[in-house]
Symmetry: C2
Subunit: 201 residues, 2 copies
């Protein structure tokens, strides 16, 4: 079903391609997904995928955006001050991933893709950058914002892997509040604390 | 080169199969690796792989053991007392993965495999259990040892993903001491601290 007979200008085609791409990247990762397979899921000609989205890499970067506004999130996290910002950040992401299947699909696609293929690091770095995690962290902690952002990001991705992708118990079915209470202080320290400790550098 | 002419009882065959399996699982993940492909890497007949290791799942569980003794590690971590146990645990794993390419190959194979395929959760859970992480954590913190172990494990896997698999900077090329100083207190709290915080449960 690579061709559905729908005309190229079909107003729903772009969104169907985006949805098919999210599914394919989620199930197969970046390297496993193909433009042809994505076109088949969307019921369009592969040429239409290229027409709307360009290369597979551009398609990935375009459709795999988590559904939130980084600037609004930053304002929301910092409005009550720096205290508790770690807990608020964990609460935001656990809420997003627990409650929105679409956000879980995107998350899974990003993590699976990042584990395979030579473009993985570029894609993930671009993703973290575009999603404003670096900017967000820099607004909270001007020293070492990139190191802090990667510590936060890698812990969140570890959580995502255990809770949503692999389903490691008891983390997978733990109450959201338990997860937030457990992880919040660790994330808070990565965002606002002293990282060098007493260890010689 | 599925058959090499070596006789089945070849004393090096078992180790060559194990090495080929580690490579294949590391590059392709559990689902992508095949007994046939592993046999080809080892230069043996696929039947010999089954003879020595049984099913692909048993092969995976047998060859993907991190090269350390869980009981010895537990003694080493706890000998100086509970204080600093988090830093010592991070120091052990960062040292293992930074310094031993074979340990990195196994780590990559486990993480890649865990991201794909229906047996992923079972394999990873079994791995964590066999490697003694649950037992180790229970020896340190009798309350909620499984929750603590999964928090520690998911943070370590997040680190592994960022530092060794994807290569996210600046974490990928950070000095080991910087990583240990940054992560040690977070792991220490997961092992010995109060996890429930002030959040209602």
């Amino acid at each position: 079903m690579a061709r559905s007979g729908r005309r190229p200008g079909d107003s729903g085609a772009r969104e169907r391609i985006a949805a098919g791409a999210r599914e394919a990247f989620g199930e197969l990762g970046f390297d496993g997904a193909t433009i042809r397979g994505i076109a088949a899921r969307a019921g369009v000609d592969p040429a239409l995928v290229h027409h709307y989205f360009g290369t597979k890499q551009r398609l990935f970067l375009t459709v795999m955006s988590l559904p939130f506004d980084a600037a609004a999130l930053q304002a929301q996290l910092l409005a009550p001050g720096r205290d508790g910002v770690g807990e608020r950040l964990v609460r935001f992401f656990v809420g997003l991933w627990d409650e929105q299947p679409g956000a879980r699909t995107i998350l899974t696609g990003i993590v699976r893709s990042a584990m395979t293929g030579p473009d993985a690091a570029i894609l993930l770095r671009d993703f973290l950058g575009r999603q404003g995690l670096f900017r967000l962290v820099a607004a909270i902690a001007p020293d070492q914002p990139e190191f802090r952002a990667v510590l936060v990001g890698s812990h969140l991705i570890g959580l995502a892997m255990a809770r949503y992708i692999v389903g490691l118990e008891p983390l997978a079915s733990a109450n959201a509040e338990e997860v937030i209470a457990a992880m919040g202080p660790a994330i808070e320290r990565y965002l606002t604390g002293e990282l060098a400790g007493n260890t010689p550098r």
